[in-house]
């Protein structure tokens, strides 16, 4: 089972790298597929740098979302933060009903165009699944285990770091996985507000009726999402080794 999943990750990562390497020399292929286009290959930016920009945007926003989501999740499950739990959970539930595009659109007036609104929107939207899973994961730590941790003489900090977070880790990482995958897709849309991402060929292609551009961007975004999802799948599995 583990082996087969590992294989899928390896194969899809290899396929992604291969396509990325071959795209710059694929002009004849796209010229043959779309003979009515003057420029069948997106060449404003190298695809490699678009992938790097895309990953940077997703990486930074997901890291920030993880800090915020796990931090808030830990806070509201402590005694001191318990009274905020209701509010936080309501905001989480409401937030999830917003489509990511709407969050993006709302961020522009606040910061102007460029990478900044994209980072804000991706971070805010990415917090929700992580926060929710952190609360669920910490809530699922058995009461008997918590009591034992106290009884053997762990401090609240030791209980959190040695017992609660490691036991909740698979659930929390599953939340990060959802967040990252959503953000890989949402980051593509972020090109509409001026961020350079794998969405750039898609947006340019849509504006100029260039199907080839759209296809090139979409294939890379889709494959990136698949590779990351499989990688997180392996990570979750590794964190569950004791179950």
């Amino acid at each position: 089972m583990t082996r087969r999943r590992g294989g899928a990750l390896l194969w899809s990562a290899a396929a992604f790298a291969l396509i990325l390497a071959l795209l710059p020399v694929s002009r004849p292929l796209f010229a043959a597929l779309f003979p009515w286009l003057d420029r069948p290959l997106y060449e404003q930016d190298p695809f490699v740098s678009l992938v790097a920009d895309h990953l940077m945007l997703v990486g930074v926003s997901s890291a920030a979302a993880t800090l915020l989501g796990v931090g808030a999740g830990v806070f509201v499950t402590r005694q001191a933060g318990a009274e905020f739990r209701g509010i936080v959970e309501t905001v989480v539930a409401m937030g999830q009903t917003f489509p990511p595009v709407a969050v993006l659109a709302l961020a522009v007036p606040a910061t102007g165009f460029g990478a900044a609104p994209a980072l804000i929107a991706l971070t805010l939207y990415g917090v929700l699944p992580i926060l929710q899973n952190t609360i669920a994961g910490l809530g699922a730590v058995p009461g008997a285990v918590r009591e034992a941790a106290r009884g053997v003489g762990m401090t609240p900090r030791e209980i959190l770091l040695r017992v609660e977070l490691p036991i909740a880790a698979p659930v929390i990482v599953a939340g990060i996985r959802v967040s990252v995958i959503i953000n890989v897709g949402t980051a593509a849309i972020a090109s509409t507000v001026g961020a350079k991402t794998l969405g750039s060929p898609i947006i340019v292609g849509l504006n100029g009726s260039n199907v080839a551009y759209v296809l090139q961007g979409a294939v890379l975004v889709g494959m990136l999402a698949v590779v990351l999802d499989l990688a997180f799948g392996r990570l979750v599995l590794a964190l569950r080794h004791w179950q």
């Binding site: 058995p142 008997a144 009884g151 053997v152 003489g153 762990m154």
Partner: protein, 308 residues
């Protein structure tokens, strides 16, 4: 020595523990017993400050427990939970070395201690060390729970209905381990249970609680032969009082040396209650008695049991 000095715990209008004073001697196996809601578990948790008392003081070796940070106090006192509470993401070995790890023992010393304790609790170190709790049976889990509590060589071991969730056979085996460990180590054990047979089997002294108050305290024979109140008489088991008394005395004490009897023999180390049961099972009023090496050493009659 553990002293509870006029300890109370108030919950709302009621008192879980009500003006309880007890002195538990060093090396005792002291049993707190009572029905549900009698405050016995609360009293136990007050000793290591899992619950803070509303009034009164607890002293260990003369020192007030409030002078230590609760975490430091708890690391010095072993605790075995009814719900076991092993850490599911840690191996058996890491579970056992929890407290030594918190205390910063060197790695090699911790691993030696884990092997030593696994052996003490009759779990093969080689095959159990790297297992995770979910791979163990309930009885094995509680053996690890006891090993975890003993790891840092505490002077005091608190046990909160430790075997309540186990099947009768496993429970009996673990009771014997505790009796043996107590005899070998001399650790002071405070043991909470609601099972009178368990209390009689293990205790050096028993305190009976009801509604948070101490009703009677004494050695098992004292409680059985002179129950202080109607409540105690009922709790001990009115109809079983006699046979429970029998369970406290070994066959050896009423042995007729040199005499013999036919039928299946009984070991001299068995208790008189087991002898009575054996007589009824065999349909005889006379049993042959053997020693630990299987030699016939005498006989026991039904009349010997009735004589007090």
């Amino acid at each position: 020595m553990i002293e509870l000095d006029h300890v109370s715990k108030q919950y709302g209008a009621g008192r879980a523990v009500d003006d309880l004073s007890l002195t538990i001697g060093r090396g005792e196996l002291f049993v707190l017993i009572g029905p549900s809601g009698s405050g016995k578990s609360t009293a136990l948790k007050i000793i290591n400050r899992l619950i803070e008392p509303s009034a009164g003081a607890i002293r260990i070796e003369g020192e007030d427990v409030r002078q230590l940070a609760p975490e430091m106090l708890r690391r010095r006192i072993g605790y075995v939970f009814q719900s076991i509470g092993l850490f599911p993401h840690w191996t058996v070995e890491r579970n056992i070395t929890t407290v030594p790890e918190l205390l910063g023992w060197p790695k090699a010393k911790m691993l030696d201690r884990a092997s030593e304790l696994l052996t003490l609790l009759k779990l093969d170190p080689a095959s159990f060390r790297d297992k995770y709790p979910h791979e163990l049976s309930g009885g094995e889990q509680q053996r690890v729970g006891v090993a975890r509590a003993l790891a840092a060589r505490p002077d005091i071991l608190l046990m909160d209905e430790p075997f309540g969730a186990l099947d009768p056979l496993t429970r009996a085996a673990l009771q014997e381990e505790i009796a043996r460990i107590h005899a070998e180590s001399g650790t002071t054990i405070v043991f909470v249970t609601h099972d009178m047979d368990e209390a009689l089997k293990l205790a050096s002294r028993i305190a009976i609680l009801a509604h948070g108050k101490l009703v009677q305290i004494g050695a098992p024979t004292e409680l059985l032969s002179a129950p202080a109140t109607e409540f105690v008489r009922n709790f001990i088991g009115r109809e079983d009082l006699g046979v429970r008394l029998l369970s406290l005395e070994p066959v050896a004490s009423r042995l007729r040396q040199g005499e013999t009897a036919p039928g299946e023999p009984i070991p001299a180390s068995a208790n008189l209650r087991q002898a009575l049961s054996e007589m009824i099972a065999q349909g005889t009023d006379r049993l042959s008695v053997i020693d630990d090496d299987g030699r016939r050493v005498g006989a026991l009659t039904l009349a010997d049991l009735a004589r007090s």
